[in-house]
Amino acid sequence: MTPVQQELLIAVVKVLVFFNVFLGLFSLMTYVERRLLAFMQFRLGPNRTGPFGLLQPVADGIKLFFKEEVMPEGANKWLFVAAPALAIVTAFLSIAVVPYGPTVHLFGRDIPLQIADLDVGVLFLFAISSLGVYGIVMAGWAANNKYTLFGGLRSSAQMFSYELALGMSWVGAIMLAGSFRISDIVTSQAGWFVPHWNFFRQAPGFLVYLVAATAEVNRTPFDLPEAETELVAGFHTEYSSMRFALLQMAEYVNMMTVAAVGASLFFGGWLAPVPALQTVFGHDIGLLWFLAKMGAGLFFFIWLRGTVPRFRYDQLMSFGWKVLVPLATLNILGTAAWIAFVK
């Protein structure tokens, strides 16, 4: 094989591996979330299918496959079918630029644990997250139902309000690293976790990211697009069977991306909190550190869902524009001043 073909093969294998890992994590997450939420609410959750109920996601998958696909009479056929596909494609596109671990040696080659180390990695994430809203808008509009339409409208308003804060919360970390490349931002946090992680150096930026990211993936307390008590199930009310599963999957993959990006930009990604712990018996365990940080982020999202009630819609909008955006701006100005006068 020529070098180009080899590179192409490696890229394809990496895409397949990461894609399937995320699919597996998705089904695991549905189980973990139901189970943890149940414990938080003094229930048991699904515990009958397999040991500890671990086969519940498999049973759910089989059930969804055999459900009837229903399309409402007045629905827009093309867009109704295209919406879940678009949602899942944009969700999976963003996992490509996250570095999951240090470069590994396999078959005498250096292989970075990242599908694409883009020069504009952070901006790419931003672009893809801004496209993610279309899947939801399309789903809400195409079903031709007023509840889904309201879900879609709310979601688009919420997402483009919080997207701005989300993007601005990254700017401080980008300025400190001097690069848009995510792997550069990770390595800029090398050293002891206090004070090198951006969680400490960029505390206001992290707070803005936490809130904006929760809103961006429509999780409680910002799950207004699918507020059950007012909108039935929001934009996916009319979806059934595997199309419903795809929309659900897109939401979970987005949540995992947000956790992975947070771990990379604010918690040193695959770097150990203490440099001495980076290698164990001569092996670099960066991947494990990354998974631990990402898992902590995902646990936080579930914990949050079990703890806080939903925001009211007007509170949500004014909070985004009047608190988060100014806070992110101040953080950028502060970081710029620090770089210009202190560093």
């Binding site: 867009l79 883009l118 020069d119 504009v120 901006l123 790419f124 931003f126 672009a127 893809i128 801004s130 496209l131 809203v133 279309y134 808008v137 399309m138 509009w141 339409l149 879609g152 409208l153 688009s156 308003a157 997402m159 483009f160 997207e163 848009f180």
Partner: protein, 165 residues
């Protein structure tokens, strides 16, 4: 043909095709979605031409932000399929023909210069280079003037919205 060239032609074809859908489609919502496809394939073309920064900005600004607002308005107004007018005004036809002629002339001139073998001077369009150029004395004034224009529009929009309530 190299892989890059094949991808270039694929995305170029998608861009032109979806642009035709934008114009030909009678339903505004379909047009808006087709325009998003056009912008995304243009972004892919920019990326293939070696300027990832411009490619990403194309998606962030146009496909991501502006088109969401367009769609938002279209959905709030719950627009229906537009009916084709029975006859178009004479002036509209003349303008369309004139603009079509300009387009043909432009495409022709580009093809002619390509046939002569002249190429545009190379430019390293990495993020840093674009930023240095943008903030260099050559473009700084224009850049700042545009920023002030956008700020003025922003303040104007807020003032108009306030007066309503």
């Amino acid at each position: 043909m190299t892989l890059d060239a094949i991808l270039f032609y694929v995305f170029a074809a998608v861009a032109v095709g979806s642009a035709l859908v934008v114009v030909g489609q009678r339903h505004p919502t379909y047009s808006a979605f087709a325009l998003i496809v056009t912008l995304c394939s243009l972004s892919a073309v920019f990326g293939l031409l070696g300027s990832p920064f411009i490619a990403v900005l194309q998606v962030v600004v146009y496909a991501g932000a502006i088109m969401v607002l367009f769609l938002f308005v279209l959905m709030l107004l719950s627009v229906q399929r537009e009916e084709r007018p029975a006859r178009r005004a004479w002036g509209v036809k003349a303008t369309a023909i004139g603009l079509g002629a300009v387009l043909v002339a432009q495409v022709g001139s580009v093809l002619a210069s390509a046939a002569r073998g002249t190429t545009a001077p190379g430019f390293n369009a990495s993020t840093g280079q674009v930023a240095r150029l943008l903030f260099s004395p050559a473009y700084l004034y224009v850049f700042e003037a545009t920023s002030i224009l956008i700020l003025a529009a922003l303040v104007g929009a807020v003032a108009l919205a306030k007066r309503e309530s």
